[in-house]
Symmetry: C2
Subunit: 313 residues, 2 copies
C-alpha cells in the first residue's frame, strides 16, 4: 500500500460515510458502496456536519450501488452493520487485488475471522472506532463527538502496514493509533458497547438518561466489570486495568450529550440489531474461558426477545 | 368473626372485584370501595365473566366512593395496588371495630407490616391469590383462570380465625387453604411474580410469548432460582423445594393462554408499577441474608428506569 492508496468503503452508514469523507477530503481517492444514500450522494455529494471540527461538503463523490462496478482498490474499509455480514465476502471480493488490505471497523467480535476465512488472515486488519456519529437525511452525516481509531493486524503485532494506515488516518484529521493487540482493543470497546448499546436499545433511554438514573448507572458498571473479567481471561498481551478503564469510560460517557448509540437508533427505526457481534460471540468466548457474564446474558436474552417477531419465536 | 361476616373490599381492581363478587354471590354482605368503577357499579351492578365457572351479574352492589361512608365491617379485604399503600391506613381505619380482621391479598412483601404498624399485628392476615383476572369496562371483571387463595396469620400458625376464613372462601367457590407459614407462601408467590410481572412489563410480551422464546424461558428459570435461594435463607418453617416448585410454576404458566400479568397491563396503560412490594422489599430482604439476586436487581433497575419520567431522574 503506497502513499496514496485508493480506498473502497463497504457499508456506508454513519461510520463509513464519515471516515470515507474525511479520507477523501485529505486528498485520497475514495469509492463508496452505498445503498440508502446512493441516489442522494451521486446527485448532490456528501455533507459532513461536525460539532467537533469544520463541517464540509464533497461535491464529487465516487458513489457505487454495486461493488462489482467499483474496481480493485488498495484498501477496503468495512463499516457494514454486522447483521449483514453474510453479504460481506460477496461485497468485498470484487475490490481485491493481490495486495489489497481489508480493515474492518465494525462493532464486536468475529468480523476479522469472517474476512480471514474468506480472503486469508494476512489481508485483514481490525480497528476500533470511538466515534459518535449518526446518519441524517440521505447524503448527510452528523459527527457528534470523538472519532479516533485504534487499529491492529488480525495476527501479530503492528507492522509497517499498520503504521502507514495510522498515519494516513492521522493526516486526514482522524486521530489514529496502531496497536499490537487487536484482541484487547476489541474487548475494551465491548466494555462500552455491551452495556450502553443494549440498555439504550432495550429501554429507549439515551446514555445521559441512563447515567442520570443511579440504579441504571450501577448496572452499567456491573456489566462493565463482567466484560473486563471475561476479557482478562482471553489471550490478551496485557490485561485491562478494569477499575481505571471503567472510570475512564464512564467519564467519557458523562461528557456525551444525550448520545443515542447506534443500536438504540437501529431498534427505534425497526432495523435488526448487531446482537451476534456484540453479544452472542463475546458471551460464547467468555463462557469458553469460564467467565460467564450473567447480566450481559440477561440483556442479550431481552434484546433477542425483542427481535422475535410476535409470538412463537 | 361469625358465620356471616360483613366484608369491606378496599381496592377493587380485578382481584378485589372478583373475590368480592364471589363472596357476595355466596350470600354474604359485601361493601365495595370503588374508584374507577364506582359510577358504573352503582348504576348497573357488577359482571363477572369467567372462563372457568359460570359467569354472573350482581344487580345490587353496595358501592362506595369514600370509605368513611362504609361503616364498620367484620373483615376488610385489601386488594389495593401496593403503589397506593401510602393511602391504605386512612382508607382502612373507618372500617374497623375492635374485632375486625384485615386480610391483605396484595402482591409482594411489606403489606402486612404496614397494616400491623397502623392497626396492630393481631388484626392482620395475609393471603396469596393465584388468580388470572383483568378488569374490563367499568363494572366488568374477566376471570381468566385459577383463583385459589392461600392465607395465614401475620404472626404465628393458622388458628380458628384463619380456618373460618378459608371455609368462607371455599363456600363461595374460591378454593382456599389456611397455612401456618405466611412468609413462605409470600415468597413462593414471588417466585412467579418476580420474573413474569417484570419481564412482561419490561418487554411488552405476555407469559406465553416469553416462554416460547427459549433464552427468555431460561432467564425466567434463572430468576426463579435466585428467588428460591433468597427465600430459603429467610426464617421459613420449611424450605421451598426449589426444583419441584419451579417446575410446577412453569407447567402452570405453560397452561395459561397469552396471560398478561397485572404489571404488564399497568405499564401499557401508563399506571405506576408495584415495584416496591415485588422488587425493592424482596431485594432488601435477600441482601440482608446474604443471598443477593443479581438478575432480579437488574430487572428492577430496568423497570425503575421506565418509571422515571424523561431525563434527569
Amino acid at each position: 500500500m503506497g502513499e496514496h492508496p485508493v480506498i473502497g468503503v463497504v457499508g456506508a452508514g454513519a461510520l463509513g460515510l464519515y471516515y470515507g469523507a474525511m479520507l477523501q477530503r485529505s486528498g485520497l481517492e475514495v469509492r463508496f458502496l452505498l445503498r440508502r444514500d446512493f441516489e442522494a450522494v451521486r446527485r448532490k455529494g456528501l455533507w459532513v456536519h461536525s460539532s467537533v471540527h469544520d463541517s464540509f461538503h464533497l461535491a464529487g463523490v465516487r458513489a457505487f450501488a454495486d461493488s462489482r462496478a467499483m474496481g480493485p482498490v488498495d484498501l477496503v474499509l468495512v463499516g457494514l452493520k454486522t447483521f449483514a455480514n453474510h453479504l460481506l465476502p460477496e461485497l468485498v471480493r470484487p475490490l481485491l487485488k493481490p495486495e489489497t488490505a481489508i480493515l474492518t471497523l465494525q462493532n464486536g467480535l468475529g468480523n476479522e475471522e469472517l474476512l480471514a476465512d474468506a480472503f486469508g488472515a494476512e489481508r485483514v486488519l481490525g480497528g476500533v472506532a470511538y466515534l459518535c456519529s449518526n446518519r441524517g437525511e440521505p447524503g448527510h452525516v452528523h459527527h457528534l463527538g470523538e472519532g479516533r481509531i485504534r487499529l491492529g493486524e488480525m495476527t501479530g503485532a503492528a507492522g509497517g502496514r499498520t503504521r502507514r494506515l495510522a498515519e494516513l488516518f492521522d493526516r486526514a484529521g482522524i486521530p489514529c493509533e496502531a496497536v499490537d493487540d487487536l484482541g484487547r482493543i476489541r474487548w475494551e470497546k465491548l466494555v462500552w458497547n455491551i452495556p450502553f448499546n443494549g440498555l439504550c436499545a432495550l429501554t429507549g433511554r439515551d446514555v445521559t438518561e441512563l447515567l442520570a438514573h443511579s440504579p441504571s448507572a450501577r448496572l452499567v458498571e456491573a456489566m462493565m466489570q463482567e466484560v473486563v473479567a471475561a476479557a482478562n481471561r482471553q489471550p490478551l498481551r496485557q490485561p485491562i486495568d478494569g477499575d481505571a478503564f471503567i472510570a475512564r469510560m464512564l467519564a467519557m460517557t458523562a461528557r456525551m450529550d444525550h448520545y443515542r448509540p447506534s443500536m438504540m437508533i437501529d431498534r427505534s427505526e425497526g432495523r435488526p440489531l448487531e446482537l451476534d457481534a456484540i453479544y452472542a460471540v463475546p458471551l460464547r468466548r467468555a463462557e469458553r474461558v469460564g467467565s460467564p457474564m450473567p447480566r450481559v446474558a440477561m440483556l442479550y436474552s431481552l434484546l433477542d426477545l425483542g427481535e422475535a417477531g410476535g409470538e412463537g419465536q
